[in-house]
Structure formats: C-alpha cells, structure tokens
C-alpha cells in the first residue's frame, strides 16, 4: 500500500495548549480522507502544518515516500499540496482569474497575459464541472462560487493533494451536493483529498477513510464503509451522542414578536422581504426555513436593526421597534446570534472575556463608576467557558482570533443564550460545531423556550429546523408560503414549499395575515 502523504508523530504547542499531540496520519493516493474531531481538537492546526503555515514542534512529514520540510506554503505548493481555508483568502475587487494567477502570473514580456490565463481557467473549470466565470469579480459572485475559485487556485498550480477545511459549513444543501460531486470528479482525475468536516453524513457520503482526533490526540483511523455514524460520533466525543433533541410539547403563551406587512430591500435594491407578516409566541420555537437568499438575511437584519426597513411594523411585546436603534432593541429584550460570526459576532482582537461582556460592559458588576471591573469580567467568562465548554489556549485571556472556528461560534452562542432575551433571533447557531456541541446548544435553546421565551430559529439545515422547532414557517422569494406543525410535517413537504411549488398559508391562520 502506498501513501502519498504521511505525517508522523506530529506535535504542536500554542500558548497554553497542545494543539497536536503525537499525531500520525497516513493518506492513501486517490482517496478521500476525512478528518473528524471536536471543536478545537486540532484539525485545522494539523492541516496548516501540512500546508506549511505552522511548523511542528516535533515529528516528520513524508510526501510520496520522501521526507520533506514544509517551511512555508510555497514549499507545499511545489510539492503539489493545496488548501481551501475555513475563511477564504480572495481579493474582493479582483476578478476570478486575477485571484487564481496571483503569484504565478503568465506573462508576455513584462505584461500579464490575462487572455491566455482566462482561457486556462475556463478549461480547468470545464474539466471538473466547476462552471466558474473567469471574468467575474469576486464581490459579485456567491459564496459557493468563491469556494470554487479557491479550488481552481489549487488546480491551476497543479496540486495533487487538496485540503478542504470545513468546506460545507458555508454552503446550502444543494451546493453541498454539488461540491460532493466535484470532489468525486477530482478523485477520478487522480487527486487526493483531505476533508475536514463535522457532518457525519458527508463523511458517509464521500469519504473512504476517517481519522478521528480528540483534544489534540489521535483516537483512531477507520474505514468509513465499516463504521456507522453513531460509532464515529462516539469516537470523537468520547461518549454516546444523541442525534435527536429531547423536548416536551411547547406551551405557547402570548405573542412576543409580531411582524406586520414588512418590506425590506436587499443589497441589490430590490425587495428582499415582501409584505411579510409573522408572529412568535412566548414558549415556542418558530423555525424559519428556505433556500439561501430567499429573504432570511433581510428579515433577520430588519428585526435586529442591522438594516433599514421600507415599510411595516415589528412589535416586541407591544412596542413597535421597527425604527429604534439597535441598542434600544437590545435593552427591550431582543437577542441575536448573527449569521456572520466574524463580522457581527466578535471583536477578534479582544479577549474572550471582553467579548463576553460586549453588550453590558458598562453595567454592574462589570463596571463601577465607569471603571471596568476585571475580576467580575473574568468570573463571568470562566462561568460561561465552563457551562458551554468553550475551549481555547488561555481561557478568558485568549484573543478571539486565536480560537478555533467552532469555539468562536460557541462563544457567541454562550454570550447570547446567557443573556436570556425575551425574543431571541437565532441564526445558524450550530454552523461549524461538532455533534456534541450541537446537542448541547439545542438543549439550551429548548431550555430557553421552556422558560417562556419566544425563539425564531433561522437555519439552512432542515434537520436542525425539524428537530428544534415547534412550528415551521417556510420563506420563499421574500414571502411566507406556509406555516406547518413541526411534528406533522415531512422533509418532502418542506422541500416542496421551499422551492415555491406548494403554498400552505391557511394552516395556522392565527399567525399569518396574508
């Protein structure tokens, strides 16, 4: 058996934490090798070492049987190793082609030969079924297209070993499906793929082999065909994980959030939310599902105050908050777990402890007469870290930037849930989280519901919507096309409504006024 890549006894320390502890990973040529592990288990670190971004403190790497020292990404590239990062590295106002050729531009004399570059990009794009327009600007194309540009960047450099770090976290189910096909196509053409993901389904679908890490240590490597999802989850978390949310029936009370005839423009200046009405009652979770880009973002931003509305009313209890500043909405009891965690969720250069008090740093006990009380901030942070199992190198003192992607997400969720807002807008709360963390977050959301809070859950994951919600509203083209009982609906029915084929606006008349 020949391995194309072997990472032997790799150890890597960060301040306060051993991110990789004696890890050995052997990758077979022309296979898809999955890497599974809890948030902060060290997956991204291990892959960054292979790509030359970090140097291991000990251990060795062999590529195609030869021992190598990958001192920086250039060395990795020359060895045929490419990586798609968790956060894309694309220049937003460059074209697709410019981003791809950057660093190895084909040229005629001193001038970049953009024509032949575009042609080559188009050819590669065709070969692997990527359908990317080489002349489009990055800021004008969708996230999934941007990801394909990242893939093209590797292929343009003749990469043979492709590393994907949580590629599906930012994609819609349809796009995930397409990416899986692209990956299979890549392997057919002789590439080897290393795939980091938290979604066991995806591993079952495409991967051949799966290596599991836990807290920086190797747990084991298994063949995917012979291992079921429950077993993989157990290896990763170290205990049995329940994939289903345990919850009693909802006891809905008064309407806490009521939206009436709301119109909101999207970034293109068109109506993204059209005359939408909706209400969420105390003690229930209303799930909002739909294909990405059907108005969810605009609706959430209108409720939370991140964007201006065209017309309509948004009542929190009986106060119309539609035109209030964000801070007043927050003070009235509105909470929000934002979609873009790096942009709206955390100040990356602040410590974890500071990020936890970002809403109420000026209140007692965190501030006394205008002076911050470090001790109270620290105690608060330590409590949240414990409760939500937020893992990082230096606890409350870790800069948010130095935390793993999933732990950043956990930190936001912890801060917002802990405030226990009366009306809670929860968007993609478990994006990038491991199954154990997902289980816990879902439990906490249900606990909030049972305390009589009104929760609007927006997610692209149907499983999450169906498991956690009591009622499900389907949004299509900026309109609510139906509200159904979560216990009584099926994935098929939701799918039909999400695609606009089926309307069910009379199912819950007390909540919809169309």
């Amino acid at each position: 058996m020949s391995y194309i890549v072997e990472m032997l006894h790799i150890t890597k320390d960060f301040p306060g934490i051993r991110a990789n502890d004696d890890i050995t990973l052997q990758i077979e040529e022309k296979s898809i090798h999955a890497l599974l592990g809890e948030n902060g288990a060290g997956k991204s670190t291990l892959m960054s070492i292979l790509f030359g971004l970090y140097q291991p403190d000990s251990g060795s790497i062999r590529v195609r049987g030869k021992e190598v020292k990958i001192s920086d990404p250039n060395v990795a590239t020359s060895l045929g190793i490419g990586m798609v990062h968790q956060h894309f590295k694309l220049v937003h106002n460059f074209t697709v082609t410019e981003n791809i050729i950057l660093g190895m531009e084909p040229h005629k004399g001193p001038v970049i030969d953009i024509r032949s570059a575009e042609k080559k990009v188009e050819e590669i794009s065709k070969l692997y079924g990527l359908a990317v327009d080489p002349r489009a600007k990055i800021e004008d194309i969708s996230v999934s297209m941007q990801q394909r540009v990242e893939i093209l960047k590797m292929l343009f450099r003749d990469a043979e070993i492709l590393i994907f770090d949580e590629p599906t976290a930012v994609l819609t189910p349809q796009e995930i499906h397409e990416l899986m096909q692209i990956m299979r196509r890549l392997v057919e053409e002789g590439k080897t793929i290393l795939l980091i993901t938290h979604k066991l389904k995806e591993i079952k679908e495409v991967a051949d082999v799966c290596t599991v890490l836990r807290r920086g240590k190797l747990v084991g490597t298994v063949s995917v065909a012979d291992t079921d999802e429950e077993r993989m989850a157990e290896m990763m978390v170290g205990r049995q994980v329940s994939f289903h949310v345990e919850k009693g029936p909802a006891k809905p009370g008064e309407e806490l959030l009521r939206i009436e005839n709301l119109n909101v423009k999207n970034v293109k200046g068109l109506l993204g939310v059209k005359n939408l009405s909706l209400s969420v009652r105390a003690g229930e979770v209303l799930g909002l599902c739909g294909i990405d880009g059907n108005g969810q973002t605009e609706l959430v931003q209108a409720i939370t105050g991140l964007t201006k509305i065209e017309s309509g009313k948004i009542f929190l209890r009986n106060i119309n908050i539609a035109n209030l500043p964000i801070k007043e909405r927050t003070d009235l009891g509105l909470g929000h777990i934002p979609e873009d965690r790096q942009k709206h969720g955390l100040v990356l250069d602040f410590t974890l402890g500071e990020n936890f008090v970002i809403h109420n740093y000026y209140e007692k006990p965190f501030a006394n007469y205008g002076i911050l009380n470090k001790k109270a901030i620290l105690e608060n942070a330590e409590r949240l870290i414990r409760e939500f199992d937020v893992r990082s190198g230096q606890g409350a003192m870790t800069p948010a930037r130095a935390m793993s992607g999933g732990n950043q997400q956990k930190a936001i969720v912890a801060r917002e849930i802990d405030r226990s807002p009366d009306v809670f807008i929860v968007v993609q709360p478990t994006r990038g989280l491991d199954v154990g963390a997902i289980e816990y977050i879902h439990k906490r959301i249900i606990a909030e519901r049972d305390r009589g809070k009104a929760i609007l859950l927006v997610s692209l994951e149907l499983d999450e919507i169906m498991d956690v919600s009591d009622r499900i509203a389907v949004i299509y083209n900026g309109e609510i096309v139906g509200i159904v009982d979560a216990a009584a609906t099926t994935e098929n029915e939701l799918g039909l409504m999400m695609s606009g084929a089926l309307r069910k606006t009379h199912a819950a008349p007390q909540a919809v006024h169309v």
Partner: protein, 317 residues
C-alpha cells in the same frame, strides 16, 4: 476672465501640478501596497532640501546641476522613506504615527543640515533651477501650443510620463497585481507565496523616490532656495489628490491639475473681474480648503485599498 488670461495661467498651473502629481503617484504606490504614507510632506521637504543643496554645490562645475539636483532629491526621498518602511513594516508601528513623526523630523533635519552646510536656516539661493523650454514645432500649434508646449517646465512632462508608467506597472504587470493584492488582502497574497513585507517595502520606497523627486521639482521650478516653508503643505495636497483621484493614476493626474490651477488662480485673481473683489488671502487658502474638504468627504469611504493602514501580521487568521 479673458481667454488670454487663461492661456497665461497654463504654464504656471502646470508648474505647480507637476510636483503634486509626482508625489501623489508616490502615495499611490505606497497605499496600493497597504502602507498609508502621510509622511509625503516630510519626504518632499527632504527631497527639496537635497535637490536645492546639490544644485547650489554643483552649479559652478556643471550646467546640468539642477538635473543632478532632481536625481539627488529622488535618492534622498528613498533613503528617508526607509525609516517609514522599517517602522511600519518591520516594527509594526502605527503608520499614521510613524508618518507624523517623519513629517516633524523632516523640518528639524533639513534646517539643521542647512545650518551645518550654509551656516543659515535655509540653503543658499541657486542661480539657475530647471529651465523652461518650448517644444520645437508643437509650440507653434495655435492655442494648444501655448497651453502645453510653449515655455513649459520639462518636469511637467516627467510627471505625465510617470502617470502612464504608474498605470502600466500597477495594472498591467505581475508586480502591480501582487502589490495591489498586498494592499487589499495581505493574507490572501501571502497564501499565494507573495512576500508581503517585500512588496510593501517596494511601495514605500517608490513613494519615497517620487515624493523626493516631487519635492526637488517643486523647489527647482517654483522657488530660488530651500526654506522651512518651501513645501508648505504640498505633500498633504498630494495626499488629497490621491484620495480625490480614487487611487487611480489618471484620477491623480486630474486632481493634480485641479490643485495646480487652484494654486495658480491665487496669482491671477486680481486680474479677473468678478474675483478681484475677494480678499487675496482667500485664494491662498483655497487649495488647503479643498484638501480638507476632499479628506472629509472621501476619507471614510471604502474606495481605497482595503488593507491600507492595517498592520500585517502573518499569524492572523
């Protein structure tokens, strides 16, 4: 305003435009690579001082003294800008603070050196700076000839040539693509194997070269010697031209011409009927007023390079 007056204004407006355009192009290189360079004012001062000094010292031995002055100004600008590069790239200092420090240093340093070399607070006056000339043939074209080719300082043509060279380098060559990538998203550039520090050094040093040249051009065309107030804010006006011109070489050309004309206007205002009533001081403050307005309106807008001013940390994720 008579047409004749306008024609008369052209050569002097173009004279004032040349150093602004050159220096603003320097700023363009620096900011496109990701380093905010408000030290342009100081760089111009150092370039102007060196240009004037070399001209004075060589005057008796060569008729091309002023041209050596220009070259010396350019080189002095490069050397001076190394300070900014080291502070903001290697030492990761705040670029605005480093730039401010350099502006302050430039004043003290040049006057100090004047004191040592000339035993006074200014350089000795040179007898010949850069000379005006007329382009044979072209200067006889009616109207256009008088506007652009007759009695013109060759430095204006250098500035125009620099606009095209800048455009070519920034938008057409691999070097330009890489430099812009460093100014927009240095992490992305680094992940493609580009040495961000090297690119930014290139940007800052070119801004030093063009800013130093701009300073020397200014003193050797519009002045008779270097004094502490020879540059009087032209570096900041160049910065404003960069912002007005949206970080694009041709935009910079337009903005530079605009500021050149607004400076020239102060000399001609008295001859223009409907402007003569305004106090003369008004026209002196005009370029600076426009600079403030430019910076006020555009400073917050995200039209410039995204990562300009941001300290690049390779460990950032």
């Amino acid at each position: 305003m008579t047409f004749e007056l306008l024609l008369q204004m052209f050569p002097i407006a173009l004279m004032f435009s040349a150093p602004i355009i050159l220096t603003a192009l320097g700023g363009l290189f620096s900011e496109r690579s990701g380093i905010v360079n408000i030290a342009l004012e100081g760089i111009m001062m150092v370039g102007a001082f060196t240009g004037a000094t070399v001209t004075v010292l060589l005057e008796n031995s060569t008729p091309a003294a002023a041209w050596y002055g220009l070259l010396a100004g350019l080189l002095a600008g490069v050397v001076f800008s190394i300070l900014h590069a080291v502070a903001s790239i290697n030492l990761k200092a705040d670029q605005v603070i480093s730039g401010t420090a350099l502006n302050i240093l430039a004043g003290g340093l040049t006057v100090y050196l004047c004191q040592i070399i000339f035993h006074q607070q200014r350089t000795r006056a040179f007898s010949n700076g850069i000379q005006k000339f007329s382009v044979p043939g072209l200067s006889d074209i009616p109207v256009l000839g008088r506007m652009f080719f007759k009695e013109i300082y060759p430095t204006f043509y250098i500035a125009i040539a620099m606009v095209f060279i800048t455009w070519f380098v920034v938008y057409k060559t691999p070097l330009g693509l890489r430099m812009r990538a460093c100014g927009e998203h240095p992490q992305a550039a680094a992940s493609m194997g580009i040495n961000v520090a090297k690119m930014r050094y290139f940007g800052v040093l070119v801004s030093g070269a063009l800013g130093g040249l701009g300073g020397a051009v200014m003193v050797l065309t519009a002045d008779i010697q270097y004094t502490l107030v020879s540059i009087h804010g032209t570096g900041f006006i160049s910065l404003a031209s960069l912002v007005f011109g949206k970080w694009n070489p041709f935009g910079v050309l337009g903005a530079g011409l605009f500021f050149g004309f607004s400076t020239a206007l102060s000399f001609y205002a008295k001859d223009i009927k409907f402007l003569a009533g305004l106090p003369g001081e008004f026209f002196y403050i005009l370029p600076y007023l426009l600079t403030i307005i430019a910076l006020l309106f555009f400073a917050g807008k995200s039209v410039g390079p995204k990562a300009a001013g941001e300290i690049y940390d390779s460990g950032k994720r």
